[in-house]
Every structure is written in C-alpha cells, then in structure tokens.
C-alpha cells in the first residue's frame, strides 16, 4: 500500500510544483514507484515542469468521471521509468471533482504505487480541500518571507483541523548571504515560528529555473538543490539525514569587507 503525500503552501509561487517534480523524480530514481498528481483543476502546470506536456491524452477529471481508465491517463516518464504523472484538466469548472472522488482516486493509486504525491493548488478553496482529502502526510512549502509564513501557518491550522497531523516543513529560497547579515529569517527562525517538524531546506538556486526551462527536474545536475531533494526523499523513507549548515559561498574576507 502506497503513501499519499500532499504538497501544499497556501501562498502561490513558493515552489510547490518544483518540489513535487523533484521529490517525485528523486523517489523514482531510488527505485520507488511514484506518481505525481496535479490537483489544480483548470490551471495545469506540473506537466510542463516535468517536460511531459506533449503526451497528455486524458486527465484527472476524465478518470474521476469514468471517461477513461486510470491507467490510460497515467503518463510514464521515459527518462525515469518508475515515475508517472496524472495531469490536471483544463476545464473551467473547478467543482468538477469532490473530496470523496479524490479519496477514491488516491485509494486506487495506493494499490499501484509506493508514493503518491499530490500537487495542491494555492489558496484554501475547493481545490485545497480536494487535495488534502485523501492524504496521509503533508509537506508544507514556505519561503522565509512574512507573507508565505503567515499563509503556511494558516494552512497548518487547516490541516490539523482536518485531522491531518503528519505535517513537515520545507523552507525554500533561502539566501545564506542575507541570513548572515540579518536581513532574512533563518531556518531556525522559521521552524520556531511555525512549530512543525522540518524536512527540507533549499537555497535560492538559479539551476531550478534552468531545469524548469528545459522541462527536466534537477536529477544529475550536482547542485545543492539536487542533493537536498535527494535528502528529503531519504527522510520521507524514514532515514535520519542530518541537515546541511546553510553557509555562505563567499570567503570570510569578502564578508568582512561587505559589512564595513
């Protein structure tokens, strides 16, 4: 039986879809049969991040309404044979899916996959309620900014109110130089404010944009982000992986000059 994990944030643009794509790829590369599901009905985007946009025939709404079989809608990533995508629909009707239908869908996926990753839409509307309905675990993505943190806190409250208590935090777009000079909240600050278990810390990395442009996740790019995504995967599988110290790349000397 697979595990259903929802990746959510409240605020848009903090890196949910990139996180889903990279963790999905990471788990698949570790030999886990993984499906990533785009639950944002009407606004499809996980497919382009993964570079699978040209292979979509059926989508989530087709599956839920019985217009096709589940297996017909799943797209297998040829680069990573254990990775599958269930794309979202581009219908305007956002109420096309109900939480009950999502629970049924995730239960069907559990039979086939080790990990089911749900890319949750931004906001706290119907789409959010659908995405969390069938989940066992939630990864909340935030950045060290006041707006993202406030929304993350709201999301954590809503998850708990829906009895989803296995919640872990990913802090994205950290800037070691800004943290060092006291102009960005640190990992410890954010973790303390939100009071949930930390599972990943990612630097603001331009390689993410490059990878997304090319439609392939970071696998094999040898960046800090790629390594940390792999660590998140290992932590999800129950391994104890220590967190890397967030450090500046520049030498001590240039830091001293900058400060004075």
């Amino acid at each position: 039986m697979g595990e259903v994990i929802v990746i959510t944030s409240g605020k848009g643009g903090v890196g949910k879809t990139t996180t889903v794509a990279n963790i999905g790829t990471g788990l698949a590369m570790m030999g886990k049969k993984t499906v990533v599901v785009d639950t944002d009905i009407g606004l499809r985007n996980l497919d382009v991040v993964l570079g699978l946009e040209n292979r979509i025939v059926y989508n989530l709404v087709d599956v839920v309404h019985g217009s096709c079989r589940l297996k017909q809608a799943l797209i297998r990533d040829k680069r990573h044979p254990e990775l599958y995508l269930l794309p979202s629909a581009q219908t305007k009707d956002k109420t096309a899916v109900s939480p009950e239908q999502m629970i049924k869908l995730t239960d069907d996926l559990r039979e086939e996959f080790d990990y089911i990753l749900l890319d949750c839409p931004a906001g706290i509307e119907q789409g959010f309620k659908n995405a969390i309905a069938g989940a066992d675990k939630a990864l909340v993505v935030t950045t060290p900014e006041v707006s993202a943190i406030r929304d993350a806190d709201r999301i954590i409250g809503l998850l708990e109110a829906n009895d989803l208590r296995d919640i872990h935090l990913i802090i994205n777009r950290l800037r070691p130089d800004m943290i060092a000079r006291g102009d960005m909240m640190s990992v410890d600050d954010v973790t303390e404010i939100l009071a949930v278990d930390l599972i990943g810390t990612l630097l603001d990395d331009e390689q993410i944009v490059v990878a997304t442009n090319q439609g392939e996740p970071l696998s094999g790019r040898n960046s800090q982000a790629e390594e940390e995504y792999r660590n998140i995967c290992r932590r999800l599988m129950g391994e104890e992986v220590p967190f890397a110290q967030i450090r500046q790349k520049k030498g001590m000397l240039s830091r001293l000059f900058k400060r004075h």
Binding site: G157, G182, D183, D189, I193
Partner: protein, 80 residues
Amino acid sequence: MKTFLHEKRRSAGYARDRMKLLLISERIECSPQMMKMLKSDLVHTVKKYVSIEESKVKIQISQEPPVLMAYIPVQRKKDK
C-alpha cells in the same frame, strides 16, 4: 557573534518578532488590537484592588500549549 548582536536591529529580527506576535494572536483568534484592550482591561480591574506599576505590565501568550500570562508588578505600601 557580531551577526548575533546585530540581528535584532536588522530586518530579519523585526520580521521574526512581528510573525511570532501575529501568528500567536491568529491561532487564538485574538488580534493584537484586542490584546491591547485586554491588557488595559486587566490593568483597570487589578487597579481597583491593589496599586500596580502600570508601565511595567506585560501580557504574553505562549505558543505550545497556548497560555495567557500576565506580569503585573504590585507596589508596596508607602506609609512606613
């Protein structure tokens, strides 16, 4: 060490303090403005019975578990 000493004055320190205050009040559905009113009501009530050092009164809500704590220094009798 230097970074640590300077931290409070830099913007991250402000952000952290603002967020702590805001999120705690949001979690218990009591806005910072209502906290101010609560404080002034508390002061008003306690003052009816004992003299207090009003400027030093502090109220605070801890995170987990949420507990309302009031620090109200009381003045000694002055006629000795």
